[in-house]
Assembly symmetry: C2
Homo-oligomer: 103 residues x 2
């Protein structure tokens, strides 16, 4: 499993519309090959800054299959108009983890 | 629940030692008040760049209680020597999520 982390800065004032667009787009991710789930997180210190995290089975499920699909075009159609600048995307993989005591 | 995201750039060549230090530090997070779990992710495009994600019940559990505790000093003692520069820390909260089909 790999995790896509996309930093998305949204135009000030577009936060509610952006979240509605992402909610509409959830079905695109839910149906995508190799997608294990998606979460959109909103910044507390900077509420126009979002972090989109998507779990994929493999890097190629994201960078090749999803990006080459009509679903990706639709995702960009829905979310893109709210971007303040192009998102910064990277991929990470789990190195260490632990459970807490309050979860 | 809030999510702490810390961007940690590690000195080149220190990656293995850093991961061992974080592994040793897992007990500090597991025991911390309000901590729901911790994950360390390693960059695929940039393998010296790590993302530490810690789930906390409240912002204050991290910024006040944990940072003021002896466990935080011990965490920095273990991990700090491997930092290439001071980590960048922010907090986010969940806005939208969906499950995938492969998880």
């Amino acid at each position: 499993m790999i995790l896509e982390i996309a930093e998305i800065d949204v135009k000030t004032g577009s936060e509610t519309a952006f979240e509605a667009a992402v909610t509409e787009a959830t079905s695109l991710f839910a149906a995508a090959k190799g997608c294990q789930g998606m979460e959109l997180h909103r910044g507390i210190e900077a509420p126009s800054q979002y972090v989109l995290m998507v779990k994929w089975n493999t890097l190629e499920d994201h960078t090749v299959t999803f990006r080459g699909s009509p679903e990706f075009s639709r995702w960009r159609e829905l979310a893109g108009p709210h971007f303040a600048k192009p998102p910064q995307v990277r991929h990470v993989q789990l190195a260490v983890r632990t459970n807490g005591n309050s979860g």
